[in-house]
């Protein structure tokens, strides 16, 4: 069965992986920064930022895709600027699908990283300080490594959730074969077709297999990281 995977299915699988990977890579540094700001920085409007970051969790994904389309569409304020300045077109592109996925999975990632940051023993940072480490030095040699298990967990969760992102992607990036038709979009397309029962079943099976492999890998990774962290 695996050997007989069709080119279209392969394409959807590859796109799903690519979109999820790009969204994680793009949003991870930002998520670490936002988590740090939300945990450590004291400034007025912190709760507003907190609410804003969590918004995609409570909004309908289609609404998120719609807002992205308004902002990042070819004539939107940000989309127009990106096109004129850098020649980047996000709407209806793979990068756009990755952006929509990143926005949808961002709260999951921030949440996980924030928990990791809150559990970092500040006494260790103080110890690093007495040993001569300045703020950035401390962050990269003590805080960040100690957060690593949480960061990886957040990245894995976001990646797994990103593989299945549907509403925001189809609204913002549309359903273009080979460009934005990821596994869930391909599955949806198959279900719309009168002869799509078998293809739909095969795509669903691939999705499930992908999920199971992802869970196993993340468990393995978590175990290795815990050992590396000396726990």
């Amino acid at each position: 069965m695996i050997g007989s995977i069709t080119p279209a299915e392969m394409e959807a699988l590859r796109l799903s992986l690519e979109v999820a990977a790009r969204s994680v890579l793009f949003s991870l540094p930002l998520a670490v920064l936002v988590a740090w700001v939300l945990t450590r920085a004291l400034f007025p409007g912190r709760s507003v930022l907190d609410a804003f970051v969590h918004l995609p969790l409570v909004l309908p994904p289609v609404a998120v895709g719609y807002v992205l389309l308004i902002l990042f569409g070819a004539h939107g304020p940000l989309g127009g600027w990106l096109r004129r300045s850098f020649g980047i077109e996000l709407a209806f592109s793979t990068a756009g699908a990755a952006l929509a996925t990143a926005v949808m999975t961002f709260p999951l990632m921030v949440r996980s990283i924030r928990i990791a940051l809150e559990s970092v023993d500040r006494g260790l940072e103080a110890a690093a300080r007495t040993l001569g480490a300045g703020p950035l030095d401390r962050f990269f040699t003590v805080t960040l490594p100690l957060m690593l298990p949480g960061i990886l967990a957040g990245a894995v969760t976001a990646f797994a959730a990103g593989l299945g992102e549907f509403g925001a992607v189809i609204t913002f990036a549309s359903n273009i074969p080979g460009v934005t038709r990821t596994l869930p979009l391909a599955l949806y397309t198959a279900m719309q077709s009168p002869t799509g029962d078998l293809p739909a079943a095969r795509l669903a099976t691939i999705s499930i297999a992908l999920g199971v492999i992802g869970l196993l890998l993340s468990e393995l990774l978590a175990r290795r990281v815990r050992r590396l962290m000396g726990r």
């Binding site: 023993d121 006494g123 260790l124 103080a126 110890a127 690093a128 300080r129 007495t130 040993l131 001569g132 480490a133 300045g134 030095d137 040699t141 003590v142 490594p145 100690l146 690593l148 590396l228 962290m229 000396g230 726990r231």
Partner: protein
Amino acid sequence: MLKVKLLKRREEFSLSAQFEAPTPGVVALFGRSGCGKSTLVNLVSGLLEPDEGFVQLNGTVLADTQAGISVPVEKRRIGYVFQDARLFPHFTVLGNLQYGQKRAAPSAHVIEFDDVVALLGIGSLLQRRPNQLSGGERQRVSLGRALLSQPSLLLLDEPLAALDAARREEVLPYLEALRDGLSIPMVYVSHQFDEVLRLATHVVLMEAGSIVAQGSPSEVSLLPQFRAIVGPEAVGAVLDGRVVKVDATIADLQLGHGVLRVSLRDARVGALLRVQVLARDVIVATEPPRGLSVRNALEGAISGLSAEQDDAVLVTVDIGSATILSRVTPEAVEALGLKPGLKVWALVKAVSARGHAFQLRTPPPGERI
């Protein structure tokens, strides 16, 4: 010289402390839990900002609120050994030791890696992770890590408090070796007087956020403020003397014009020795004793009598440039007619005076500290 004058107000607690201590040497901050000792060392380290005051080490100003100076913690070159060791779990012992060493200015390097590893006996632990170490080993690595950051002052905040008695005994000799082998000034926080007795060259007594007395351990041990902290049972004069004669298990200690015989193995003639003689272990006699097993009868004169809160009387006996305390009952005072100026013999069993060798190294003139 370490000069400290600091003020910190908090809602529930305020600290006001001023002390000066000679360097090198070990300043012990001694007091009950919660009296502000840790707050004081955190202010010295810079981890806490004072409301007012200054910290000066050998002429260098580390903080001065009036002059608006506050050297950042990471630039103060103050090593800090925490009660809970605080080793980095994601580094090996080696990585922990090198963390501060790598960040010290090359010009500041006077303490060598190999020396520290040998001094603390941690050579076999270098590849281990902190979670594979015992409590005592962890504290030794933490000491090494602080030393290798080439500090000009070492703060130790109850480094043995989290250890059981056996582990404490394992680490204490290393602290003594550190005091005697390196000329780094240390501030040692403790609420255990036996640690202070073994390590300190200067004692600062703290109570409820302020300093109530300070001086050498033998001076401080005679003060009522000290008695108030340790309680009547633990009162006893601290005596520093030189070993003048050794037998197999007994060392003779010159004290004033008398000699105190103490149980101690491996003593060296000429070594400095510190003992504490608990007041409850000292008998006062008005005549030279005969036919007793007691090894020590130190001749002296009563210089003071003070009624303690628990109805006992504390007798101060001057034995010539040294002082011994004895706890007796009011009945005994009356029956023997004890009064200031009376000639007496202080009887001390050799086994109740436990000695600690004390070999503080005085740096040769001109050596950088």
